[in-house]
């Protein structure tokens, strides 16, 4: 029996596996990203790159919490110009590269997108959602109008597949996803971290230098999964799931919820680089055991039955 293929196509990008690393996780240098790829990822995602070099926030920038981590790295990055060579190096090694990027203004977003496109990235991921940095655009990801505007402007700079990565820290993620779609996004990545914090009870102060940080890992999985579910119902473009994926069962939940591909970040902390291979293998077994011939058949499957479920949910009134 020949092995079932895990290949997927997301927004025109053909990948041997639906797995990628999450932006900012291990995305600083080509050799590490190559290792992610060699561990089984279908593509790698770079650290979010901005217009100029940033050291990020001073330490502490990471705190372990129950079933997850809080981080406030502060978007350290060497700047788009510097990163051109890193992308080229990755391409030379044969690694499909999704370049994550951000800016402090609409113009900066466009400028960085253009630089990274020219460098040879295979796709771009617009980070509309970092909760740790607020520049001119404020908390970009919570303003549908701004998301549409930034997406549309970037859209004009590049013909690459454009993912827009959203924040879960919003009242209605569907609205923002639709704005990104209108702006010309080819896919939605859902989601970035939840805004949280931790306090040291002896020093009596927040631990993170930035006071608040982004919660990731298994703790956020139910929330991120719900975001994927909602976004998948709201838009016609593919959704890339992200948030707490740790086991192959998690991955299947995301696919069933409507994700066409997945990014895995914090699980590397607990499961190492091996997580990519393990999740691939689990997905493959699941496809086989359930008689599917490819990942595409699984994507969004839980929505069909979801509607029948909804009607039962309304039975809240007295029935005894």
């Amino acid at each position: 029996m020949s092995k079932i293929s895990l290949a997927v196509e997301v927004a025109g990008l053909r990948l041997r596996s639906p797995l990628m690393n999450a932006a900012g996780v291990l995305g600083m240098s080509p050799p590490i990203l190559k290792r992610v790829y060699d561990s089984g990822a279908g593509a790698v995602v770079t650290k979010s790159i901005g217009p100029a070099p940033r050291t990020g926030h001073p330490n502490p920038t990471l705190v372990r919490v129950s079933c997850g981590a809080l981080n406030a790295m502060g978007l350290p990055n060497p700047g788009a110009e510097y990163f051109v060579d890193e992308i080229k190096a990755l391409k030379e090694m044969g690694v499909p590269v999704v370049a994550s990027f951000f800016g402090g203004s609409v113009e900066e977003f466009a400028e960085v997108a253009s630089t990274l496109s020219k460098a040879g990235a295979d796709a771009l991921e617009l980070n509309a959602s970092c909760p740790n940095v607020q520049e001119e655009l404020g908390m970009l990801a919570s303003d549908a109008g701004n998301v549409e505007k930034v997406t549309a402007t970037v859209r004009e700079e590049t013909r690459l597949p454009l993912f827009v990565k959203l924040s879960p820290n919003v009242t209605d993620i569907k609205e923002i996803a639709m704005a990104a779609e209108r702006g010309g996004a080819d896919a939605i990545t859902a989601v970035n971290t939840l805004k949280g914090m931790a306090i040291d009870i002896n020093f009596k102060r927040p631990i993170l230098t930035n006071t608040t940080g982004g919660l990731s890992g298994p703790a956020v999985k139910p929330v991120a999964l719900r975001c994927v579910w909602e976004v998948a119902e709201a838009v016609d473009i593919p959704v890339i799931g992200c948030g707490g994926v740790t086991t192959w069962e998690d991955a299947i939940e995301y696919l069933l919820a409507g994700a066409s591909a997945l990014e895995i970040g914090t699980a590397v902390m607990t499961h190492g680089f091996e997580v990519y291979g393990q999740v691939n293998e689990g997905i493959r077994r699941y496809l086989e055991m359930n008689g599917f011939s490819g990942i595409k058949e699984v994507v969004g499957l839980a929505h069909q039955i979801g509607e029948e479920q909804d009607s039962r949910a309304d039975r809240c009134s007295i029935r005894v």
Binding site: P31, P60, L62, V268
Partner: protein
């Protein structure tokens, strides 16, 4: 999933002792550190200042542990000015640590490198092995743990200073190269300035000797996520800080040459 040693906590310093010029040891009681392996490090936090990696320089001495800090900048100067009763925040121990190996090991330490090697020396000594140890420094007053090492190792301790103010005059790496020429070691451990370690690595390779070197890179998360401590395909914080000969060979284009700064740009390794 919930690894206790990775959680933030604070400890009160039970003592602060000066070790040599610019270097002090901070002593504290911490359950998680008692279980450390030689070569592992802690993330040490001073609120409002910084959080930085520090090797565990004594594991469970009557229940107490230590870090040993060389003052080189704001954080390390502040750490060294703390006194008994002050608190520091801790996470860890982190990292792979050294692997005990060899019947006749050679140790080469420079700078604050002895901090990381000391617990390994003590563990090997307890197991019946007395390593040969080359301890280098710029001058006599900067030799770290000279006394503690002499007590354990006796004449297996060889001291070298750049200015000749104590022991042999010259670089520890040079003396180590000479020793490898003369004697049949079966293992080399080294920790110190990277340029020194790069030389020790060359000598060990020349003699076909296995080696373990403890590297330093800019550590932020310490849990292997952010990628800031990368050297080649490895994360110093998690795959390291101890690198063996194969790993060193894989990262040879960066080892002793370049390192990432806090923004992810490569800068030169200066010492």
């Amino acid at each position: 999933m919930h690894i206790k040693s990775e959680k933030n906590r604070t400890v009160e310093l039970t003592d602060v002792v000066s070790e040599c010029r610019d270097v002090s040891s901070l002593i504290f009681r911490d359950e998680e550190t008692r279980g450390a392996k030689p070569g592992q490090y802690l993330m040490v936090w001073l609120p409002g200042v910084d959080e930085v990696p520090m090797s565990v320089s004594a594991i469970d001495m009557d229940g107490l542990s230590r870090i040993t800090v060389r003052g080189v900048g704001e954080m390390t100067f502040k750490l060294n000015s703390l006194s008994t009763g002050d608190r520091v925040g801790l996470r860890g121990p982190f990292g792979n640590g050294y692997t005990v190996q060899g019947d006749k090991p050679l140790f080469v330490a420079g700078g604050s490198g002895a901090a990381s090697l000391m617990p390994l020396v003590e563990e090997m000594h307890r197991q019946g092995t007395t390593p040969t140890f080359v301890l280098g420094a710029r001058s006599a007053d900067m030799l770290l743990f000279a006394d503690r090492l002499e007590e354990t190792l006796g004449e297996n301790l060889i001291v070298s200073t750049d200015d000749g103010s104590r022991g042999y005059s010259g670089y520890a790496s040079g003396y180590a190269a000479m020793l490898m020429e003369e004697d049949a070691f079966d293992m080399v451990y080294t920790c110190g300035p990277e340029l020194m370690m790069a030389k020790v690595y060359q000598s060990a390779r020349g003699h076909g000797l296995p080696i373990q070197a403890s590297l330093e890179r800019y550590v932020k998360c310490a849990v292997g996520l952010c990628g800031n401590c990368a050297i080649g395909p490895y994360r110093v914080c998690k795959d390291g800080p101890v690198f063996d000969a194969d790993m060193l060979s894989e990262v040879r284009s960066e080892f002793g040459v370049s390192q990432m700064d806090a923004s992810g740009r490569l800068i030169r390794v200066e010492h």
